[in-house]
Amino acid sequence: MSSRPMIDRYSWWEIILIYCGIAIFLFFVLSPFVEGFLVSLKPLSQLFSSPYRFWPENGSFEAYRTMWISVPGFGRYIFNSFFISIIVTVIVLCLVIPASYAFAKFEFRGMGILLGAFLTVNMFSGAVLLIPLFRLMRSIGVLNTYLAMIVPGVAFLIPSAIWLLRTYMIRIPQELNEAAYMDGASHFYTLRRVILPIAMPGIIVVAITTFIGAYAQQFIFALTFNSKTEYMPLPVGLFAYFGKQEVIWNELMAASFVGIAPAMIVIFFLQRYLVGGLTAGAVKQ
C-alpha cells in the first residue's frame, strides 16, 4: 500500500465505486455469456420452461460431451478457423506492413485519396457485394477451397489493418530512417532491419485484430464460396447445431464456448501486447 504512489491511492469508497463500475461494465459485457453458459448446462427439455430459473436444475456438462457426437466435424471446424485465420493474418501482414510503411513515411501525391479509398472499402460490407464477388471467385477458380475464404477475407481486413499500423508507424522517429539512409541502407534494407523490429508491438496488435476478425467474423464468404464441409470454418460449423426443426441450444452454446477458447487463449497470452502496442507512443530508446 505505502509503496504505491499517493495519486493512485483510493479511499475505501472509491474502491467500492471502482469495483461497482467494473462490475456493471463486465456485467454488460458478460451477461450473454453467463446466459449462454447456463444454457449450455441445462438439459434441452429444461431450456424452454418458465418461470425463468437462473441456476440450472440438475445441470451438467453433458452438452460438452454430446456436442462432439452430434456434430462430428466440430474439431475440424475449429482447426479450419485457426488455419484460415493464420493464413489470412500472414497474408494481411505481408501486404499491410509495406503499405502502412509507405503511408507513414513517404509523401507522394494522391496519398490522401488512396487512404480514403482504402477506408471506402470498409464501407461496403461483404454482403452487398456477394454476387459480383462470387463471379470473381469463380473466375479465379478458388471456389470450394480454403482460398475461397482466405482471398476475400484478406481483402476486407486490409483497410483497417493499414489504418492501425500506419498510426503506429507514424510515431517512429523520422531520424531513424534518415540515419539509415545516411549509412547507405536501401529503402528495403531500412524497412527490414530498422522499421520492422521497431514496429513489432504495432504489428502484433494488427496481427491480433486481423486474426480475430478472420477467426470469428467471417461467415458469409465461407457460406457462399465454399461448399465443402471439410473446409468450413467455425462460424459455419456452429450452424450445424441448428437442426432440421430445432436448434440444439445447449450444444450450440457449449460448442461456442469450446470454439472461442483457442482464440481466448491467444488473447490471454497476447493481451499485454494488445494494450501495450496500442499505447506505445514515440519509440523510446
Binding site: F25, F28, P32, E35, F106, V128, I162, H187, Q271, T279
Partner: protein, 294 residues
C-alpha cells in the same frame, strides 16, 4: 531530386501489392455493383439499362423514413459505444487488484462469432424463457413476460444494445490505450493543484482522449452503418419495419426480392451517404483536435 523520386517509386512499390489486391478483390465487385445499379438486373438472364430509374424508385417510397431511422440507430449505437467504451476504459485503467483479469474479460464479445453472440442476446430478449424478462419478473419489476423484440421501440433499442455490446470491447481497449498514453505528469500537476479524480478525468483525460474518440467513432460509424447480422438475426427488420435500416432494406431488395439492380442502387447510395458523412465528420472534428503536445 532523384533521391526523392526514388523514394516515391519505392513507396509505390510497397503500396502496390495491397492496392492491387484490394483493387482486384473489392474494386471489381464495386464497379460491378455501380454498373448494376443502372440496370434492372434480377434473376432473369437478360438485363436492361434503366438509367436512373432505380434511384428514382428508391426515393419514391418510404425510403426517407428508413434513412432517418438508420441515422438515429447509428447515432445512438455509436454514441453508446463511445460512452460505454470510455466508461469501461476509465474503470479498467484504475490501479486496483485484478485489472488484467478484468481486461481479459472484456474481450469475449469481440472474439465470439458474431452470429453466436446475437443468438445469445436473442435468448436474453426472449419474453418467455429469456434472462432479462425472467429476472425482471423474479424481482417483481414486471408482472408478466416482456418480449423485447415485440415492439418497435423496444426492438429498436434491443438491436442497438446488441450492436453496442459487440463493438464495445475494441473501443474499450483502444480507449484504454489512449488513456495510458496520456503523460502521467499532467495528472500529477492537476492533483497538486487540488483536482480530484473526477475533475481530472473530466478536464484532462476526456479532452486528451478526443483524438482517439474521433478515430474510433469514425471507424465504428462505418461499421455500425453497415451493421447487418444483428438486426437480421434478431428481428429481420421488424416488427412492422421498425428496425429496418438501409443495409437491411438493401439486403431485402437485393437478396430477398432478387432485385439486384435496385439493391445495387441502394448500396451505392449507402456508400455515397457514408462518404459524405465521413467527409463532413472529418471537417467538423478536425477543429476539435486538441493542440499537439510538444
Amino acid at each position: 531530386m532523384s533521391a526523392q523520386k526514388s523514394a516515391v517509386i519505392f513507396a509505390w512499390i510497397l503500396l502496390l501489392p495491397a492496392v492491387l489486391y484490394v483493387l482486384a478483390i473489392v474494386a471489381y465487385p464495386l464497379v460491378d455493383t455501380f454498373i448494376l445499379s443502372f440496370t434492372d438486373a434480377s434473376l432473369r438472364k437478360v438485363t436492361n439499362w434503366v438509367g436512373w430509374a432505380n434511384y428514382e424508385k428508391i426515393f419514391n417510397n418510404t425510403f426517407a423514413e428508413v434513412i432517418l431511422r438508420t441515422f438515429i440507430w447509428t447515432f445512438f449505437s455509436v454514441a453508446l459505444k463511445m460512452i460505454i467504451g470510455t466508461f469501461g476504459a476509465a474503470m479498467l485503467n484504475a490501479a486496483v487488484p485484478g485489472r488484467s483479469l478484468f481486461r481479459l474479460l472484456t474481450m469475449p464479445p469481440w472474439i465470439v462469432p458474431m452470429a453466436i453472440g446475437i443468438f445469445m442476446w436473442g435468448w436474453m430478449y426472449n419474453g418467455q424463457f429469456g434472462m432479462i424478462s425472467g429476472l425482471l419478473q423474479r424481482f417483481g419489476l414486471v408482472d408478466g413476460p416482456v418480449a423485447f423484440l415485440a415492439y418497435g421501440s423496444t426492438a429498436f433499442w434491443a438491436t442497438i444494445v446488441t450492436d453496442v455490446w459487440i463493438g464495445v470491447p475494441l473501443v474499450t481497449i483502444y480507449f484504454l490505450a489512449a488513456i495510458q498514453s496520456i503523460p502521467k505528469d499532467l495528472y500529477e500537476a492537476a492533483w497538486t493543484d487540488g483536482a480530484g479524480r473526477w475533475y481530472r478525468f473530466r478536464r484532462i483525460t476526456l479532452p486528451l482522449m478526443v483524438p482517439a474518440i474521433i478515430t474510433m467513432s469514425m471507424l465504428s460509424l462505418i461499421a455500425t452503418f453497415n451493421s447487418f447480422d444483428i438486426i437480421w438475426i434478431l428481428t429481420q427488420g421488424g416488427p412492422s419495419g421498425e428496425t429496418t435500416t438501409m443495409i437491411i432494406d438493401t439486403y431485402q431488395t437485393a437478396i430477398g426480392s432478387k432485385k439486384y439492380g435496385e439493391g445495387a442502387a441502394r448500396a451505392v447510395l449507402i456508400c455515397i451517404f457514408l462518404s459524405l458523412f465521413c467527409f463532413a465528420y472529418f471537417r467538423v472534428t478536425r477543429r476539435l483536435n486538441p493542440e499537439k503536445r510538444a
